[in-house]
């Protein structure tokens, strides 16, 4: 029987197998940021261990960084200390580090791909659940905890129990207003937050093939939201085109060899998946989350669900609690809900294509009065490219704030936060209670819906403008 893509990558990285122990996998790339690494570096020092492969390790600062006045010292003393700790650790252990203000700095999952560090067939880990993003290149990429960060630093390997495989096939074609974000939100709506637990998910089918690399990253990024260990997509010509000429991509003769290896990275026709999900692209209209987990999702043009209609008791109770927290009334049209803040950013939707698609909606229009709007590019590279294309001017002319790169309001560890009861349309990936600031109310949407919402002042698709 043939093998699935993830099984092929897995098998290529086995350092040791058998004897009742989980497989020991070699890790090709370890990305590090300031939040989940300090205790790991401490652990190394306590045990007098070294970083085995500083050359396969890269660090950057993203979660805590302010997105304004970055030439000034960071005001929050605790954030500052965390960032300084990472800088000192990178220096002590000889790790390449991109600090705030460096042209390559940015959200860890945005910079890996754009520097060509993420390549097909690799294993990639980071102390961050959205490491699944890198699966868009046909890499096996997953988030790990701090103990595992220490393990990878010390050994460049990780013991991993075998996972099930899951195929998520999106057939047909998307409606014109829909995007990659709507695809993954629709998948979440279909399988729920626990639907991928214990599995590595492979996205496939014509809709996925038609997506750009940026779109594929958006889809893989949110695999963790349905609990999958990783999400991945087989590499194709688009993948190779994206990688060609990137700073860390192979060159010359190596390039030819690499491409011929990469072409082997696909699921064999006779391979079997443990679980299968099929959705129709035609049904995937623009989506929005109404509740406090990313599986609570409906079409933007839909009405807010009524908990009384949930058959399952636990789901009904969860829906009641969510509507109360979100301050929403059942059975009202979603487009009647006004917003206070629109956030365009995060490792889900802060790449150049996301900014282009939002700018296209905004161009020549004005943000509705009284709405706070932020555009936070994912990296220094994205910011620079957007400025070359004049996107920053489009945003600024419409009334948006144009910021410096970082995670920003995706998780509000920096000064960009929601206040209690403040409602946001956000292109990020988590609508958990308090995620964007204590008491804040988050609705996840695509960049185009976020842009249209900023103009309309309430939830809207570009077609509604």
């Amino acid at each position: 029987m043939g093998k699935t893509l993830s099984q092929k990558i897995w098998d290529n990285h086995i350092v040791r197998s058998g004897s009742g122990e989980p497989d020991l996998l070699y890790i090709d790339l370890h990305l590090v940021h300031e939040v989940t690494s300090p205790q790991a570096f401490d652990g190394l020092r306590i045990s007098e261990r070294n970083v085995r492969r500083p050359d396969l390790t890269i660090s950057t600062e993203d979660h805590n960084v302010p997105t304004e006045n970055i030439d000034q010292p960071i005001e929050d003393a605790v954030s500052l200390k965390q960032i300084e700790t990472l800088r000192a650790n990178a220096k002590e252990f000889g790790i390449t580090h991109y600090p705030m203000g460096h042209p390559n700095q940015g959200i860890v999952h945005v910079i890996g791909p754009e520097l060509g560090l993420t390549q097909p067939g690799m294993t990639v880990v980071c102390g961050d659940s959205h490491t699944s993003t890198h699966g868009a290149f046909g890499a096996l990429a997953f988030g790990i905890g701090t103990s595992e960060v220490e393990h990878v630093l010390a050994t460049q390997t990780l013991p991993q129990p075998l996972q099930e495989t899951m195929a998520i096939t999106i057939k047909g074609e998307l409606p014109p207003e829909s995007s990659a974000k709507d695809v993954v939100l629709a998948v979440l709506g279909a399988v729920g937050t626990g639907g991928g637990i214990g599995a590595i998910a492979e996205f496939r089918g014509p809709v996925i093939e038609a997506l750009s690399m940026e779109g594929r990253m958006t889809v893989c990024n949110m695999s963790i939201e349905f609990g999958a260990k990783a999400g991945l997509i087989a590499p194709d010509e688009k993948t190779f085109q994206y990688l060609k000429g990137k700073a860390n991509s192979p060159t010359g003769e190596h390039w030819e060899n690499a491409v011929s290896e990469w072409k082997k990275l696909h699921t064999d026709p006779d391979a079997q998946f443990d679980r299968e999900i099929v959705l129709n692209g035609e049904d995937i209209v623009p989506q929005v989350t109404w509740g406090t987990n990313p599986g609570q999702v409906i079409p933007v043009q839909g009405t807010i669900p009524n908990p009384a209609n949930f058959e399952n008791l636990a789901e009904r109770e969860a829906a009641e609690r969510a509507l109360e927290y979100m301050g929403l009334e059942a059975d009202t049209p979603f487009t009647s809900v006004p917003v206070d803040t629109v956030f365009i950013g995060s490792c889900t939707n802060s790449r150049i294509e996301d900014l282009r698609s939002a700018a296209e909606v905004i161009k020549g229009r004005q943000v509705s009065a009284g709405i706070r709007t932020l555009v936070v590019p994912g990296s220094g590279v994205v910011k620079k490219q957007a400025e070359i294309e004049g996107l920053d001017q489009i945003f600024k002319n419409a009334g948006f704030d144009w910021r410096e790169p970082g995670c920003s309001m995706c998780l509000a560890m920096n000064p960009d936060k929601l206040s209690p009861r403040e409602r946001s349309a956000s292109t990020s990936n988590r609508n958990f209670e308090g995620r964007q600031g204590r008491g804040g109310r988050t609705h996840l949407v695509s960049p185009r819906v976020a842009a249209a919402t900023a103009i309309a002042g309430h939830f809207a698709t570009p077609e509604d403008l």
């Binding site: 350092v15 020991l24 070699y26 659940s129 204590r438």
Partner: protein, 197 residues
């Protein structure tokens, strides 16, 4: 890590599904560079509500947390495990765990006990009625016993994880025992793979 054999104590019922790690420890707490001092951050936003079950005196001193399905989903923050442990818990019972949380738990000696949905519901109800119900979780036999109400059930646990818990083994030490295999593997890596040298 300290070895864990038997956990004996009372439990607190957190009757919610989808308790994500942002709720277990909100992001403000993640700025600390130390590994201790997270107990105050545990459910810090929910704790402001006097009705919140962890504020209920009847459950003080509990060493087991029982929750609804999908406990510990979301962010990879190991701080969630540290906060739960530092607040005195030694095991969490739920029908389903977020995979990274589950992994992080066992690396720190916090025992994740996966139960059938029906049993999970029943346990929540029992503990709501009788806060002083004594649980025994036996890691070696992978068994939970509540003698007073005559409940006994086994839970799934990976052999290698069980061994690490029982012996308090350090994963890194075990892997470094395989240094030669790692070096051998490194010789076979493809020439073009990215490296910062």
């Amino acid at each position: 890590m300290e070895p864990v054999h038997i956990i004996q104590g009372t439990a607190v019922p957190l009757d919610r599904s989808d308790v994500d790690t942002d709720q277990i420890i909100p992001s403000d707490w993640l700025k600390r560079v130390e590994r201790t001092g997270f107990e105050k951050g545990l459910f810090s936003e929910w704790k402001d509500n006097p009705e919140f079950v962890l504020n209920d005196e009847a459950y003080s001193g509990a060493s087991i947390l029982i929750a609804g399905p999908n406990f510990g989903t979301g962010s990879s923050r190991e701080h969630a495990v540290w906060a739960i442990q530092q607040a005195g818990f030694k095991a969490v019972i739920s029908p389903r765990f977020g995979p990274i949380f589950k992994n992080n738990s066992t690396k720190n000696g916090l025992v994740p006990v996966e139960v059938e949905t029906e049993i999970g519901k029943r346990l929540l109800g029992e503990v709501e009625r009788q806060p002083l119900l004594e649980f025994v979780i036996d890691v070696e036999r992978a068994l939970v016993e509540i003698p007073e109400i005559d409940i006994e059930f086994s839970f799934p646990i990976d052999k290698s994880i069980q061994e690490r818990l029982l012996n308090g083994l350090d994963d890194i030490g075990i892997t470094l025992g395989d240094e030669t295999s790692i070096s051998e593997f490194e010789k076979t890596r493809l020439a073009w793979l990215p490296s910062q040298d």
